[in-house]
């Protein structure tokens, strides 16, 4: 049977990254009882992923940006009364409980494998589940040694390892090992490349599909977000120091190797991201870290019926009001779930949501018009405008599918090729990702379309319509053993 707490918490915060941590700390400081659930054993989320305590890192901040803000939140979380940190809890669904409460269902264990089911009741929810990396396929992207750019950084931050390092190949001498090309689109690439270089990798190139000049179309967003410029300069100068070459308006259009990455082809792109003929260049490397921006992780909220919007780079994010509440009363969201905008924005939104939740649970009509609330709202609006400019600058160009060969796997789990998907679109009349899925099994495997969803919906729209973001509605946000489902009480409270 699920382990239940009889008395509901005031607030359940799902996700202990910058947004969730700020929300939990602020809510507790307003007197609420808070359950902070997170899949990891440590707070910080993917952004502040710290080395495991057993690695005893004296300087974890060497791999992080803006560490002081995290250290402050973590200290307040540890010292604050009222926060129950439920570490290692993987939330797989949220249902309506009795008496207007929510029931948050989680499984425990490193990867949720067959362990203890837990149900946490709460009067309000803050969904701070963050994001994961968006991937666009290209020939060779399933070869071992091709890894997510954020994934390379995550493995570096928590496990102190670099991809492709340590394998003595017969031909490559010791000096030649450890070359990691970083490619894709978005500001994360600069941060990833500078972390990898600082940790000893040789980064032959950072390959960015967008042109940085596109930011210049948003002078106001740039002028009011000086910290973002400072970040870019910090990463940029670190790359210069390590001799890393930045190639904008270019993409890795093929990976070469048998069994593992040996080289990549980099092509110049036109404004629609089509490779310019005659510009291919081969770069020898041992790994490729690749990512095309981030996708909000909103399955739990979507399952509850929360409305979504399409962001400037074509992903789906939650629709939120001025105080971070979703379209479903009693469910708030903060950070990347409302649109990708970075850790600083996530902290502001978490704090703002917590103040609003405390007001609602306290029976007040809205958050007091304090200077603090006004300041948070101004900061949020300023940083959201930058996030929108950033998303527009890095939105995938319509020509990226020309990178694909007929035999390029698009769906990694089910091994569905671009050729099979095009056949479903051209010959069988599929016009959306769902129909492609039914006809080809693309997106039907283990990851449930998290890796191929963006690409499939784009290919499905090849007929001319703008690609709709992939539907994120999934019955489970995590795999759960059948025994866990069998032990659930029937949801009879809200039946008519």
């Amino acid at each position: 049977m699920p382990v239940s707490v009889s008395e509901p918490y005031d607030l359940a915060v799902i996700g202990a990254g910058p947004a969730g941590l700020a929300g939990a700390v602020t809510a507790a400081e307003h007197g609420l009882t808070v359950a902070l659930l997170d899949a990891s054993d440590q707070v910080g989320g993917q952004f502040y992923r710290t080395p495991d305590p057993e690695l005893r890192a004296a300087r974890p901040e060497a791999l992080h940006h803006d560490w002081a803000a995290f250290a402050d939140l973590r200290a307040r979380q540890r010292s604050g009364n009222g926060i129950t940190h439920l570490a290692g809890h993987r939330v797989w669904t949220v249902t309506r409980g009795g008496g207007g409460t929510w029931a948050v269902h989680a499984v425990t264990g490193a990867d949720g494998a067959g362990e203890r089911p837990v149900c946490v009741p709460a009067r309000a929810l803050l969904v701070a589940t963050g994001s994961y990396e968006r991937q666009l396929p290209f020939p060779g992207w399933t070869l071992p040694g091709v890894v997510g750019a954020g994934g390379a950084q995550a493995m570096l931050k928590s496990g102190l390892v670099l991809p492709g390092i340590g394998a003595p190949s017969a031909r490559a001498g010791r000096r030649a090992r450890g070359r990691i090309v970083v490619a894709g689109s978005g500001p994360l690439l600069l941060a990833v490349a500078s972390s990898l270089a600082a940790a000893g990798a040789k980064v032959p190139a950072v390959v960015e599909a967008a042109g940085y000049l596109r930011y210049a179309r948003h002078p106001r967003a740039l002028a009011t977000n000086a910290h973002k410029m400072v970040e870019a300069v910090v990463h940029g100068s670190a790359l210069l120091r390590h001799g890393v070459r930045l190639r904008a308006r270019s993409a890795v259009t093929a990976v070469h190797g048998t069994g593992r990455v040996e080289a990549v082809t980099v092509s110049r792109l036109d404004r629609d991201w089509r490779p310019v003929p005659g510009t291919d260049r081969r770069i020898a490397c041992d790994a490729l870290a690749v990512g095309h921006g981030l996708t909000p992780q909103i399955e739990l909220a979507v399952t509850l019926g929360c409305a979504t919007r399409t962001t400037a780079d074509g992903t789906s994010a939650l629709v939120l009001d001025g105080f971070q509440e979703t379209s479903v009363p009693g469910v708030w969201a903060a950070g990347e779930t409302g649109g990708v905008g970075g850790a600083r924005l996530a902290r502001v939104e978490g704090e703002l949501a917590a103040i609003a939740i405390a007001a609602r649970l306290g029976g007040r009509p809205g958050p007091a018009g304090s200077g603090r609330v006004a300041r948070l709202r101004r900061a949020r609006s300023r940083m959201r405008s930058f996030a929108d400019a950033m998303a527009a600058a890095h939105a995938p160009g319509s020509g990226w599918p020309t990178w694909l060969a007929g035999d390029t796997d698009v769906c990694r789990c089910e091994e569905v090729t671009a050729g099979t998907i095009r056949e479903a679109v051209d010959d069988l009349g599929a016009r959306d990702a769902r129909t492609v899925k039914l006809l080809t099994r693309a997106g039907m495997g283990w990851c449930q379309g998290r890796m191929c969803g963006s690409a499939v919906s784009c290919l499905a729209a090849a007929g001319g319509a703008a690609p709709a973001p992939p539907g994120e509605r999934r019955p489970f946000a995590e795999p759960v053993p059948l025994g866990v489902l069998a032990s659930l009480d029937p949801p009879d409270e809200d039946r008519p």
Partner: protein, 104 residues
């Protein structure tokens, strides 16, 4: 300046321990995931796909993509990027859905 990730953050873990990958001894540091320990040994693939039999290893690094599924101590379909390495763990290449022995 040649340095390692461990140098960069000033890591000082307890001594490494041994796990095996298809019988080959691999050293892991306390606190590393199975995937991190395999990467540190230069091993990038520990699964073959169901249809093409192609090699795969860790891709997303955060438990979203399921490319890093491995058979750990006889149990298939464990996400190696999330599971901590423990002394004596026996990792074996997962072929297909990892349940060939069950005949399903």
């Amino acid at each position: 300046m040649a340095r390692t990730p461990a140098d960069l953050v000033g890591a000082d873990p307890d001594p490494p321990f041994e796990i095996t990958m298809d019988g080959r001894t691999v050293t892991a540091l306390p606190g590393q995931s199975v995937a991190a320990a395999l990467w540190a040994a230069g091993i990038l693939a520990w699964r073959t796909t169901r249809n093409g039999g192609r090699p795969r290893g860790a891709f997303c690094g955060i438990g979203q993509c399921y490319d890093c599924l491995a058979t750990i101590n006889g149990e298939p379909n464990r996400r190696a990027c999330l599971v901590p390495a423990r002394p004596g763990d026996a990792i074996t290449t997962q072929e297909g859905h990892g349940r060939a022995g069950l005949g399903v």
